[in-house]
Subunit: 381 residues, 2 copies
């Protein structure tokens, strides 16, 4: 504690500068990087990144509540700042005024995606394209994981890059509002699976098999104006009771084989389930209450793009896990695509026995922007 | 909620089996793995793994408080169980009774390392080779991050592997005690840096430059009986005030260049600092209060092996980060090696202005074991 006095007296430390000078990005040696650190996804474009690209190992969602009086002009200022930060950081350059420039040099497929909640549109005096979800009977929502006027989704194959990016963006965003919640999640690390492999969640289930694929994305995810919509749900999993089930019971409740992810009526993960097939006792092989039966969508335009991350917070003293999914889905229209699926699941999905939604938020995802532009310019400018 | 009733009535779900049958490991397809998932470090051997090997991207420390009455015999039972779990999981096989066998197949350089705190020795009626550290003037220790009778260090390049391993071990450990604390940390992902590259912490500093290297490890880390000792300290960093400093002031406080990690008297990261060198004003270039000056050790046998992980919990509503280091160091003898360094740092290290130890724990690390043996057998059998 005596240190600072001594230091100041000895003349080593200058007064804190008004605007700290960041080290030049060029000064950071890059010889020791490997491929996973240098991966760059485009920031500028008609559509935002971080949506249909392969989700990386780490994903964090930061939701803000706007300060009272934050109007359209202020929002424009905010989004110009955040867009500039995101554009620089995603290409591996420090943000303007970056106080830890050395941490900015490994983007590792970093994406920063902005979403606007109903409250942001209200603040801007605009009509919101998204509305809060109805509360489902299975919901046990907590304020601390719900809502939000602005969301920043930060994804990267490197956790330290997520941390640094998050801090730089929060530093610029916080004069305009308060942090409402932060949800940090993970998937398998880069280099564990080949691209396109469906990953397992903390339940051990392959998660995302029914996602729209390739050309289906175009109508399922994107609107003609390059917008999309995001649902973020925090779904706590009761792994303790789930693990009391036998493998066969787990499979009956999901409708898929645990090992292969194949529907119980098929052989391979992507086989179409056959809901008419009966077993030797005359019951449907795909039980009426199975997750796949309830969630199944035939029309590709009605599919949703699941892009979830796992969470695993500290267990309690008895060793019971606090784990689950930061479920995130992108769809062109929440009302048309997400709601019918969620209603069917809430009504009768055996998996509800072992999962509890504890957080819920919706966001409209504005289009991307060209270099020199900023996210949200079409509605906030 | 009606689901389970319907399901049971339809005869789909059997009663939970007494011991769930795990899927056979061989049944899990491995064609879609890549290199980072398949990395295996040896579990059996004279020394435990997870110590002098390159730390991977994710590290979690789980500390337990033993239940009253857990004696030497019970401890032997516990360590036999945990050893068996660790041996299987580190080679990418499910644990016995593994309820999510599919999650066990990507070890990604998984290591599981066991450490015994003073309380474990007391419970076993034995003299402990380690004692709680004295409280330093800089400490603001919280019970929730301090102490522990048994620690399980779980490290892997994959976060889901850490989660699964942690759960399997806790399931077997919890009949013998309560979870005291869990600290989950991260470093750069595999494939970002080449092996041996000194990583940056959340402060942006290269962290671990002064570690013993190669042959130095032998005396600095290991005792003749293949034991070592572990200090775990949770060090909260006040990044907000740290970032008010200019780069020059940051460098004076650490004694190293931010970009290269070189001492202020040198050119390259591993140059020896010259504490006699004076600047043009006649002051030592390496300030007396700098972290390097205070922490410096000349005798290789007195060095400590820093093996820290970063943490980044959710920021508060004002956006102030809750970040820092899960500082972990291995040394042959805490009293001879760690304590003198820590005393000098506590007395006068300018970095104390921006860091606060909020947790502290010490553990003796027993030797490894041969196949068929178990960790702790030499003292608990």
């Amino acid at each position: 504690m005596a240190g600072l006095g001594t230091a100041a007296a000895a003349g080593y430390l200058s007064a804190p500068p008004a605007a700290p000078a960041p080290a030049a990005a060029a000064a950071v040696p890059v010889a020791d990087f490997q491929d996973i650190g240098t991966g760059v996804l485009p920031f500028y474009g008609k559509r935002q990144s971080g949506i249909t690209d392969e989700p990386p190992a780490h994903g964090t969602f930061v939701a803000l509540t706007l300060a009272k009086g934050t109007d359209r002009v202020a929002l424009g200022k905010l989004m110009r700042l955040l867009t500039d930060d995101a554009a620089r950081l995603t290409r591996g350059e420090p943000a303007l005024g970056d106080t830890d420039a050395e941490l900015a040099v490994h983007p590792a497929r970093l994406t920063v995606t902005f979403g606007f909640g109903p409250g942001l549109y209200r603040a801007a005096g605009l009509k919101s394209p998204v509305s809060d979800l109805p509360v489902f009977s299975i919901d046990r929502l907590q304020d601390r994981w719900s809502g939000g006027d602005l969301v920043i989704q930060i994804c990267s194959d490197d956790a330290l890059t997520v941390t640094h990016t998050q801090r730089m963006l929060i530093k610029d965003a916080r004069p305009f509002g308060a942090i409402r919640w932060v949800q940090r999640g993970f998937r398998r690390s880069a280099g564990v699976h080949k691209a396109g492999f469906t990953q397992r969640n903390v339940f051990g289930q392959l998660d995302g098999t029914a996602n729209p694929r390739d050309a289906e994305m175009e109508t399922a995810v994107w609107n003609a104006d390059h917008t999309t919509q995001l649902v973020v749900r925090r779904v706590r999993t009761d792994i303790e009771t789930w693990d009391l089930l036998s493998v066969g019971d787990k499979e009956n409740s999901t409708g898929r084989r645990m090992v292969s992810g194949a529907p119980l009526t098929g052989e391979a993960e992507h086989d179409e389930p056959d809901f008419t097939k009966l077993d030797s006792t005359g019951l449907p092989v795909m039980a009426g209450f199975s997750h796949v039966t309830r969630a199944h969508v035939t029309d590709p335009a009605l599919k949703i793009l699941r892009r979830p991350f796992n969470y695993d917070d500290a267990p309690d003293a008895q060793g019971r896990p606090d784990s689950g999914l930061v479920f995130a889905s992108y769809q062109a229209d929440i009302v048309r695509q997400y709601l019918p699926i969620q209603r069917r699941l809430a009504e009768k999905d055996l998996l509800n026995e072992w999962t509890t939604p504890i957080g819920s938020a919706v966001f409209a995802i504005p289009p991307g922007c060209a270099e020199g532009g900023w996210i949200g310019e079409r509605i906030l400018a």
